[in-house]
C-alpha cells in the first residue's frame, strides 16, 4: 500500500510569488569574470534561492566555414543566475549575474536595457581578468560601481591600488565587499545607487 501523498511530492518547486501589490520592478546587473563570486553575492541579497535561467544566443564560431566562405554561426544556450529582493510593498529588485565575455554581448544587450546600473565584482589578485567586463559595461553605457571581493584569507587590499590598476574614473565608487555577507553586499549596492543618484545632481 502506498501511503505517500502523491500530490505533495509532484511539485517540489512551488514558486515564491511576489507580494501582489508590487507594481514596479527594477534590475541591476552583477557582473564579473567566472569564479569571482557573482552567484554568492546574489544569494546574499536575494530573498529567494538564486534561480537559473537559460538564454539562447547566436554566436559566430572561430574562423570561417571553408566551403561556403561564410561565417559559421552556432546557437548555444547560456545559463545565468539571478535573485530577487522585495524592497517595499510596491517595488522589487532583480539582480542578474551576467558572464563577462565578449561572446555574450547579445545577452548583455537585452539585459542592460532598462537596467539601473551594474555592480562589477573584482578579485584583487586577478584584476587583469576584469578588463573584458569593464569594457562591456562601458560599451553598453551602464553606470557602475566596483565591489572588491575579499576572499577568505586574503588580506585587505588598498582600494586606491585597485582604482589605479583598473584605470577607473575618480567618481566611480570602489568599495570592499564580502560577497558572503548580506550587509556588506548591500553596502556595495547602496554605493552603486548613491552613485546613480549623483547623475541627477
Amino acid at each position: 500500500m502506498n501511503l505517500q501523498p502523491a500530490a505533495v511530492s509532484r511539485s517540489p518547486h512551488s514558486p515564491e510569488y511576489l507580494n501582489p501589490d508590487v507594481s514596479h520592478s527594477v534590475k541591476v546587473l552583477v557582473v564579473g569574470h567566472f569564479g569571482v563570486g557573482k552567484t554568492t553575492y546574489i544569494g546574499s541579497i536575494s530573498e529567494i534561492e538564486p534561480l537559473r535561467t537559460e538564454e539562447t544566443i547566436t554566436e559566430a564560431s572561430e574562423g570561417f566555414d571553408d566551403l561556403s566562405g561564410l561565417p559559421d554561426k552556432t546557437t548555444t544556450t547560456v545559463a545565468m543566475d539571478f535573485g530577487r529582493r522585495t524592497l517595499s510593498n510596491t517595488l522589487v529588485l532583480y539582480l542578474f549575474g551576467t558572464p563577462g565575455q565578449e561572446r555574450f554581448k547579445e545577452m548583455w544587450e537585452a539585459l542592460s536595457r532598462g537596467a539601473l546600473g551594474a555592480l562589477v565584482i573584482v578579485d584583487p589578485s586577478r584584476l587583469d581578468q576584469s578588463f573584458a567586463v569593464l569594457d562591456l559595461v562601458e560599451r553598453f553605457g551602464l553606470t557602475y560601481a566596483i565591489a572588491v571581493n575579499r576572499f577568505d584569507g586574503t588580506a585587505s587590499y588598498p582600494l586606491d591600488e585597485v582604482r589605479e590598476a583598473l584605470n577607473l574614473p575618480v567618481e566611480t565608487p570602489v568599495v570592499e565587499c564580502d560577497v558572503r555577507d548580506s550587509q556588506s553586499s548591500a553596502k556595495a549596492l547602496i554605493a552603486l545607487v548613491e552613485h546613480l543618484m549623483t547623475h541627477f545632481g
Partner: protein
Amino acid sequence: MSEGPDEGPELTGSLVPLFVITEGRALPPDHEYDHTTLVTAQNAPAVAARTLSPEARKVTDLVADGFLSLAEVSAHTRLPLGIVRILVAQLDNDGLLLVRKPIPRAERVDRELLSAVLDGLRNQFGA
C-alpha cells in the same frame, strides 16, 4: 545552489525544437517583455484556454496564484527566456495573463525609483 556558484557557461541543448514550442511565432520587440516584466494568470475565456500548448499551459499554471517575473517563469519552467517571451506575448494577447511591464526610463521616474531603491536597501539591511 547545489551546482555551486559561478561555474562556466552551461551549454545545453533541447529535445524539442524551439520553433515547435512557439508554433513558429517570432520574438516580440525586446522592450515589450523584459526579464523583469511581471505576470500572473487571469481568468481565461474557455476557448483560448482549451487550445494551449503544453508549454503555454505550464506558464499559466505556474503563475496561477500570483506574480512572477519572466526570468522566474523561465527558471521554474526550464524554458529558455526567449521562448517564455514568445509564449507570454501570445498568452497576453489571448487575455490569459495580466502583465505588469517595467516602466519606461525617464529622468523623473528614475530619480524617484532610485530613492525608493535606496530607502528599501537601507531599511532591509540596516546598512
